[in-house]
Amino acid sequence: MSYDSNWEVVIGLEIHCQLATKSKIFSGSSTAYGAEPNTQANAVDLAMPGVLPVFNKEALRLAVKFGLAVDAEIGMRSVFDRKNYFYPDSPKAYQITQMDHPIVGVGHMDIELENGETKRIGITRAHLEEDAGKSMHGAYHGMTGIDLNRAGTPLIEIVSEPDMSSAKEAVAYMRKIHSLVRYIEISDGNMQEGSFRCDANVSVRPKGQKELGTRAELKNINSFRFVEKAINIEIERQIDVIEDGGKVVQETRLYDADKNETRSMRSKEEANDYRYFPDPDLLPVVIDEAYVEAIRKELPELPEQKKQRYIKEFDLSSYDADVITSSRELADYFETVNAKCGDAKLAANWVTGELAARLNKEEIEITDSKVDAEAYAGLLLRIKDNTISGKIAKDVFEAMWQGEGSADEVIESKGLKQITDSSAIEAMVDEVIANNTNQFEELKGGKDKMMGFFVGQVMKASGGKANPGQVNQIMRKRLDA
């Protein structure tokens, strides 16, 4: 980070999360992604005269489920409001949302900081609302093309407190929410398809200043990487503005990933007066305790609970448990590997180590791993029974990743089986000693460092296939002789 420590950063996020319903929030149109333009936009979505919105039961259930998962107050009586603005992606000229009485009230989410500490991020609220359509600029002889398939798709907007003080924390929080909504199956969380995106409110203030600085809102960021980059670039911009004697203006800005800069969207500023009022087309939504409790019973094991269980049941470190439970798919993968190889620590090390590094490098998710959990467990079993060393296992993994077969097939075809035959290792040890008599005398004379040299030489001579434990043992025997 290039800015110095005289500045304090304050960040709040608004996350828009598409709820996994089959039909829209107020109409019977399909919400399936990727349909031909406007084939899923009916009279209600198009705001034809005389239509009436009717609220989708499932959207309510999913929103309540989210509230329970973040330990929030549930709005037993929530009210829909109209947020008025003119833009062609919203044919009604208002968005149906919730203002004063949202479905989800105050809750929280804990994030894990880099130094291992836990920080609690407050959730102010989460409300139900409808998504807008999509505009396409440029290709239509000076006109804008509008696809209203998305219009009316159910969303929850999850509003955080301004509790994050760096881009890294903001990303950590966003990841946690992303992981949670997929765990509890209220959203597919697909960021490419726009099912999960966020606006970031960013401000800076000189360290020690009590009142908040003026904030800018960064709109519609749809990847974790961009969130971090956009926030960092915005922090730098605001500090530059202030240090040059200027003032940060409260405004909406757009992040341009190609240029890595944020740009003002001034056009929307003037109209930034939404004149909210209760939507007379919709009655208050009233739910009771029994309804809420029934949903509470449906909640699966949450990431935090799973993490604590892994620490307790498998004796994993907090860090490993956190990484593994960051997604339900990764946790499932780990559990499959563990069940088959029967060594939780080994499984955890290899899932958070070699595998995670590989997924990271190729920027793919665990579900797209080229080595599935069963096959990975097969590799770990060969480490466990001493067929191969950990070092050789990395080469075997590489080959498996390249599609060269199962662990056993690769070990067989490449002749990587660890040498555990004592007489073979003894022969190698003796040869190395014979070639390095001076060093051997030094070792005998008490220069213990030389032990590493000899073990290394023997390992090298065996092409990495000798069992290091045995090499050590035989060396000791030769020393004592």
């Binding site: 406007n38 936009a41 609220f55 600029h137 804008t144 056009s267 009655l283």
Partner: protein, 95 residues
């Protein structure tokens, strides 16, 4: 509290209403009267009264999450001023 001419013009702009300059004083007067009436009402003691978010004493009915609509794009687009590639075309909006 009463509105001035600028506030009235801003409200008209937000609602995309075109108003005659000559009518502005009349709107200022009428709208200010409405606000005065609301102010009189806010003097009433409403302690313990639940805010009314809807005039009907009823609760929202819920719909099953079922896709009940079929594609009727052709019918809808028949009355649209301009369409292309299945899109509704509107005057350019650039941010």
């Amino acid at each position: 509290m009463s509105l001035d001419a600028d506030a009235v013009k801003k409200i008209a702009y937000l609602a995309r209403l075109k108003i005659d300059e000559a009518d502005v004083p009349g709107y200022v007067n009428n709208l200010s009267n409405i606000i005065d009436l609301v102010e009189q009402m806010s003097a009433v003691d409403t302690e313990g009264v639940l805010p009314m978010s809807h005039p009907m004493d009823a609760v929202q009915r819920l719909r099953e999450d079922k896709v009940t609509e079929t594609n009727q794009r052709e019918i809808f687009q028949a009355i649209a001023p301009k369409t292309e590639d299945g899109l509704y075309l509107v005057p350019q909006v650039i941010e």
